[in-house]
Symmetry: C2
Subunit: 338 residues, 2 copies
């Protein structure tokens, strides 16, 4: 299925040097994909020339004169930069010229502009950020990761419904399991927010597993783990910090002396295979769920290899019909409630 | 300094088979330590005989006829089991016969009974669970880890004060740094709870670093990380799950075929050194802070090696005078506020 994706080429720590090569690699990989490269025309064209490429039917440059900075205040990016590459890329989705957009820019600005331009799907109050994490069994979707610091139980229910439709659409699992993140599996555990959300999920038609705990994320106990944005963000960042620490420790131990360095050489293929399996770049690309359009957020520090995964996710979601599925599901729920 | 510690010998997944050998090893290690071994006399004495030991001046058995089960409801443990090993051990601290107690039993029951028997220190509203975690720089104390699912900003402040006094007393750091866990370092980030807690901490005389994020825990950005019990519990359990997953992956990669197994043999000393550094057993022993007595919670699945670390922590805290230091500090704050 042909899919056109708008790329915010200026976003992220490395801008065009990462986004353009990633798009070019995807162009080769997937013959049904085409791109709208959004950003400063000269910068994008210079990058294309460097790769020996020119614009064509599958690769169009859309000029945008401004750039949202990574640390820019959301309000300034929203009101002051109407011609930012981020805004123009989202506009292309809003206008139907692109089926999805990908940005490695400022998360807060991306969320605010997407919400302003695209609006929410019917029945959804707030967007949520969902990402894939590796688990013992494969992978698990976790949301929200920081879009909502204060969530009502109804929002958590909506997150569960949206992500169920996402997993169903993208992975073809008919009834993905949903876990609600809590500090114990017993019914008595947790705060009022999760207790009430648990009741709502139980009566919602979701394939609700019940409460899960932090370790269930990486055990892969459920296909989906739902939590509020504060908790989800802390869980994700804590994981990142832990992996960095373990990586540093491992390098230090292998670098200790000549003997450990030799052992490291012998073990290198195994360690490399291990690292490939947990390479966070393969999980790059978080979905901004709940909008009337597909918006994928790449990690700001992504390299071209990682950014290509975010593009792949955008293409996958565009082909999956996830937006229609969420809309249908919410309509059914709305009907049965009235 | 002579210290007498009460051990709940029946608590945890392995009871006397872990608690008694751990106490015996500590008896050899620290000649100024003595123990009150609390639990079923026959079971404890059988375990002592197995180790070729008998009770003596430094090793007394205190009979308790009941056991709090790991999954028992807190109310049942509190009201129905007045002669549980857990309750009797805490009573020994309350009565001044022991300077501290250690239990690997049911966390909820330990917290409730400790609070009921020992009461809170003046000026402290709620107890918090604090533990050490390894970091790139050494270690960091994190609290609360699950005692309080709903915290007021004042409680977070009290956690910061209590833990500062703990670190000062036990580690001799005069002004430990305190970070408040949030989903961004900027002042505008977070929910109302952390924003208000940040204001309180800023005006409290604490060595307040400001907001920290999940990855700062393992970076070791601050000596102490304060958060509510829901968030802290999720961060800790997520970390446990991640470490388990990475360990499984690493074993799988080294076990793949003959060549990787040989590489594993060569790398074994390095991998072992790495595992020693992140061995969670060395971090076993969480402090129940805020009580008029020292209570240390061991992980339920601890082995004797891990349980000995929890005992060591109890001894350390008993010698540190931490309870007097928290009391003095709260009195100063109370005075300056009136």
């Amino acid at each position: 299925m042909a899919v056109k994706v708008a790329i915010d080429c200026m976003g992220g720590d490395h801008g065009v040097h990462v986004t353009v090569p990633a798009a070019l690699s995807m162009l080769k990989e997937d013959p049904a994909v085409s791109f709208l490269l959004v950003g400063r025309q000269d910068a994008i064209e210079r990058e294309l020339r460097r790769a020996g490429q020119v614009a064509g039917p599958r690769l169009k440059v859309v000029h945008a004169s401004e750039v949202v900075e990574m640390d820019e205040a959301v309000a300034a990016a929203m009101r002051g930069k109407k011609d930012s590459s981020m805004r123009v890329a989202i506009n292309l989705v809003g206008g139907g010229e692109a089926a999805a957009c990908v940005s490695a820019g400022n998360t807060g600005a991306l969320m605010a502009i997407s919400r302003f331009v695209l609006k929410m799907l019917p029945g959804i109050d707030r967007p949520a950020i969902a990402t894939l994490l590796p688990t013992l069994k494969g992978h698990t979707y976790v949301l929200d990761l920081g879009a909502n610091v204060n969530c009502e139980p109804e929002h958590l229910l909506q997150f569960g419904i949206m992500c169920s439709e996402l997993v169903r659409s993208v992975e073809g699992k008919p009834r993905p399991t949903v876990g609600l993140l809590n500090i114990g599996a017993e019914e008595s555990k947790g705060n009022e927010q999760v207790k009430r959300a648990s009741e709502l999920m139980r009566g919602s038609g979701l394939n609700f597993h019940g409460y899960v705990e932090g370790d269930d994320i990486y055990k892969g106990t459920t296909d989906i783990v739902v939590c509020d944005g504060f908790v989800g963000n802390v869980a994700l960042k804590t994981s990142e910090g832990l992996v960095q620490m373990l990586g540093t420790y491992l390098r230090q131990e292998f670098g200790r002396n000549l003997i450990t360095k030799l052992a490291g050489l012998v073990a290198l293929p195994v360690i490399s295979a291990f690292k490939r399996r947990v390479d966070h770049r393969r999980y790059n690309g978080a979905s901004l769920l709940g909008l009337r359009g597909i918006v994928i957020k790449s990690h700001g520090s992504a390299d071209a290899f990682a950014f290509a995964f975010a593009i792949r996710r955008a293409v996958q979601e565009a082909r999956s019909g996830v937006l229609a599925h969420i809309t249908e599901r919410m309509a059914v729920i709305h009907q049965s409630a009235t």
